[in-house]
């Protein structure tokens, strides 16, 4: 740390402790955390959910929830103490000396205000520019974040822009007054991988030009590798490690950091046991097609081809991954196969029988053979039913007795490595990872032939994600299930899939064995997707 710019940090946090309300599960949200950010430097705060990383970010901006308060320590912005300073002073500092961008570009902009006006508001509040000057400056800034046609962007409403474009508007808003510090709270987590790469690049470019210090909050070590100069690792409010990105990622010292880094799924697929050639085909689709259209005055309008010509196959004991960005049609395919929606055309064979045109009792019987696990374990369990009730409801609908269903549920709880006593508890008494295990048990209770996992690990922390992935693998092997694994995350797909189909704009652009596809991608889109994956070229400790 002999770099002279470290002597005049833009941000210096010392012994910061933030209390949680009294009834919380621990005393401090953040305890005794110290770090600094130099001009032009990117410091990453990395940690899992509940590590206190966002709390730190909000405390810097003075935007902490009322229930939380800084009990000890100091935060200095260019030498000025922020802890305990007045609300008026904080307001003056926001956006002029420290700007912030947030995780959800979809909801972070006011939906009823034009984007340009939202940026303009910053200038109105903090400068004396005339309205022409402001207008020009906003247009310049929109151009600087590389949005096309600034005049049109100025007068657009947020819902008319894509996620990436909205995040660019947020960045323009945060940086228009050239603050010395940019706080970025998971700004790319909600974005597709290619968009993420562009936004990371933009942040790098702008902070480099202006020598802005950046505090970048993330849970993704790939992003850290891509962007960070230094990185601080947080665990339950405590800082366990702080050093240069190279040091921390390549030779982590603390066991927690080591565990986190080893949980990050690798880009290279492991060597997998081949599926026996005589394994029966469980699912086969032939030119599956799903079209959405809206009617207006009885005429078809706005025809959208959500999935076109999908022909894939899964054999017993095999996992097929469908990988793609948002809007690629991957979830549409899963929903057609699970009959949550009806496909427009094409055939879906389940164990040799075409199920695309089922109805009534046939369809009802099909439902138990195909089960799905959803993305968000917090919302896919009924909060007013015990876990046990949720698990046995399905089998009992198909005539199983309560006692049998309960006995089976107990076995399943053990299978997903939860205590069977948990059956009497409610979902909120479980953590996110445990809930997802419950969801898996619920799906398995139906004794399905095909298990569909729709982004089933995307909402989970990386260490929990690794555990759930391992569990899914074990279950698939033990029960010889066919599994359809939908994900946007290439690394996750590389770890669990035997075969991978890459989807873009409703079509499968590349389809083949995982090892081949990952080691030697053929299609341009697949290559672009791989290139965009953050931290791909970084050598992590293993």
């Amino acid at each position: 740390m002999d770099n002279p710019r470290h002597n005049n940090p833009v941000l210096s946090v010392k012994n910061l402790t933030i209390d949680l309300p009294r009834n919380a599960d621990r005393k401090h949200a953040v305890s005794n955390v110290s770090f600094d950010v130099a001009p032009g430097e990117v410091v990453c705060l990395v940690g899992e959910s509940g590590s206190g990383k966002s709390v730190i970010a909000f405390s810097l901006m003075g935007l902490l929830a009322k229930a939380l308060n800084v009990s000890e320590g100091s935060i200095e912005l260019q030498g000025e103490e922020i802890v305990g300073c007045s609300e008026d002073r904080l307001r003056q500092l926001r956006c002029t000396r420290m700007g912030m961008i947030f995780q959800e570009p979809m909801t972070a902009l006011n939906p009823v205000m034009r984007c340009g006006d939202q940026i303009d508001e910053v200038l109105q509040e903090h400068t004396d520019f005339s309205s022409e000057q402001r207008h020009q400056k906003v247009l310049d800034m929109i151009a600087q974040v590389h949005l096309p046609d600034p005049a049109r962007m100025y007068s657009s409403y947020p819902h008319q822009l894509s996620g990436g474009q909205r995040q660019r508007i947020m960045i323009a808003m945060a940086l228009i007054l050239e603050p010395v510090l940019l706080i970025a709270d998971e700004p790319t987590t909600a974005l597709d991988v290619t968009t993420q790469a562009q936004i990371l690049h933009l942040i790098r470019e702008l902070q480099g030009e202006r020598q802005t210090g950046v505090l970048f909050i993330t849970h993704d070590f790939g992003v850290v590798a891509e962007l960070g100069d230094r990185v601080a690792v947080l665990k339950q409010g405590e800082m366990v490690e702080f050093g240069t990105t190279q040091q921390v990622l390549a030779s982590p010292q603390h066991p927690y950091t080591q565990m986190l880094i080893s949980s990050v799924p690798k880009h290279e697929p492991p060597i997998r046991k081949a599926i026996p050639a005589d394994a029966p085909t469980v699912l086969r689709t032939e030119n599956l097609h799903k079209q959405y259209f809206s009617f207006s005055f009885g005429r078809r309008r706005n025809v959208v081809d959500a999935a076109v010509d999908i022909s894939v196959e899964i054999r017993k004991g095999e996992t097929l991954g469908i990988v793609g960005e948002s809007g690629s049609g991957k979830s549409t395919v899963a929903r057609c196969i699970t009959w949550l929606i009806k496909s427009t055309e094409g055939k879906i064979f389940l164990s040799g029988r075409n199920i695309a045109e089922l109805s009534g009792e046939d369809l009802r019987q099909l439902r138990r053979k195909v089960q799905i696990i959803f993305q968000d374990p917090y919302r896919s369990l009924n909060p007013r039913r015990t876990v046990g009730q949720s698990i046995i409801e399905g089998p009992m609908n198909y005539g199983e007795s309560h006692a049998d269903a309960m006995a089976h549920a107990r076995e399943l709880m053990e299978l997903v490595q939860l205590s069977p006593d948990g059956l009497d508890r409610y979902p909120h008494q479980f953590s996110g990872g445990q809930r997802q295990r419950v969801c898996i048990a619920r799906a398995l209770a139906m004794r399905p032939e095909l298990l569909v996992a729709d982004e089933a690990v995307s909402a989970l922390d990386v260490s929990v994600q690794a555990q759930v992935l391992t569990l899914l693998e074990q279950i698939r092997d033990r029960m010889q299930l066919a599994m359809l694994f939908i994900t946007h995350d290439l690394r996750v797909a590389a770890q669990v899939c035997d075969t991978v189909a890459v989807m873009s704009k409703g079509r499968v652009v590349e389809y083949g064995p995982a090892a081949e596809l990952f080691n030697n991608p053929q299609h341009e889109y697949t290559k672009a997707l791989f290139d965009a994956a953050p931290g791909r070229h970084f050598k992590f400790a293993s």
């Binding site: 909801t107 009823v112 910053v122 509040e125």
Partner: protein, 313 residues
């Protein structure tokens, strides 16, 4: 926008037709001869015979409906046997007092309720919030006539600030008009203040948790701007809905207030018409009140598109 407006106006036509059919059938399905019902007890046989021809009662029902609809389009709602006047002239005389009262009430209610609700949301969980919500519960529960007589007793009888009863047309002087409307409007507005304040609070409270409110604060905006420019505008859709419904209820539901304050409006007319079994007037009033609801719903829908650019039909 214009195409949407047109579409929306077209969409009201079937609703209006359905209302017309119901009102038309109402009289035909009541026991007895519609003509003698319409003509009233004091009518001569000749009167009834004339009316039968006019209503086309010898014709089959669909033809009768066409005649009825044609008369409506011409503005002919028939004649009140009770007052011996054309219904349309009676209604047009009563519309102004009722509209005055309704608008006056709405303005008072909005001016008080929206800031009150916003304040309660902003001060969520504090004594201010509790006081506002406590008032809201009381406002809901006390009947209009109790509030009305209470106000009359205090402000008209004891303090003598306002007249006890009566109405003066706006054309006879604005001040006199307003002076006489303040008490009835105040009485009537209590329940609407309670209703709108509650809705405003809920709606603003929800919006205050949104991410873009955090963004607005992160920009360094003062609280007042965050509340007014960002929160209230986004909370507006449900608030406008409830205000619209309030206006519709007001216009069709001022019966009690008008009789307490002796205002010669639609409420009084309705009451008299029902008591006098004055069928033509009752029919016309039902039609009118339905139209009020339809028009206000139309206005609410149009307001949505102005308030929220995401709403497009």
């Amino acid at each position: 926008m214009w195409s949407y407006l047109l579409k929306r106006i077209f969409a009201t036509i079937p609703v209006v037709l359905v209302v017309m059919v119901i009102v038309f059938l109402m009289l035909r399905l009541t026991p007895g001869d519609p003509a003698s019902n319409i003509a009233g007890d004091a009518a001569t046989t000749e009167d009834i015979a004339k009316l039968r021809v006019k209503l086309g009662l010898e014709e089959p029902l669909p033809v009768q409906f066409v005649i009825y609809a044609k008369n409506l389009v011409k503005g002919d709602f028939g004649e009140s046997f009770y007052y011996k006047r054309s219904v349309i002239s009676m209604i047009s005389d009563s519309v102004a007092p009722t509209l005055s009262l309704a608008l006056f009430t709405t303005v008072i209610a909005c001016l008080i309720a929206v800031p009150l609700g916003t304040l309660a949301a902003y001060k969520h969980g504090t004594w201010i919030d509790r006081v506002v919500m406590g008032f809201s519960v009381i406002g809901f529960s006390v009947p209009v006539f109790v509030i009305g007589y209470l106000l009359i007793y205090v402000f008209a009888v004891k303090l003598e600030w306002f007249p006890v009863q009566g109405y003066q047309a706006m054309s006879d002087g604005f001040l006199g008009w307003a002076h006489r409307l303040i008490l009835p409007a105040a009485a009537l507005s209590v329940i609407f203040i309670a209703l709108i304040a509650r809705m405003t609070r809920t709606s603003v409270l929800e919006v205050l948790n949104e991410d873009y409110i955090r963004t607005a604060r992160a920009k360094g905006l003062p609280q007042s701007k965050v509340l007014l420019k960002h929160a209230l505008r986004n909370a507006a859709v449900p608030i406008v809905t409830i205000i619209g419904i309030a206006i519709a209820i007001l216009i069709s539901g001022v019966v009690v207030t008008e009789s307490v304050f002796a205002i010669p409006g639609l409420g009084s007319l309705t009451l008299d018409a029902i008591q006098g079994r004055d069928y033509p007037t009752v029919q016309a009033l039902i039609l009118l009140f339905s139209l009020v609801y339809i028009v206000i719903n139309l206005l609410i829908d149009v307001a949505y598109t102005l308030l929220d650019p995401r709403i497009r039909y």
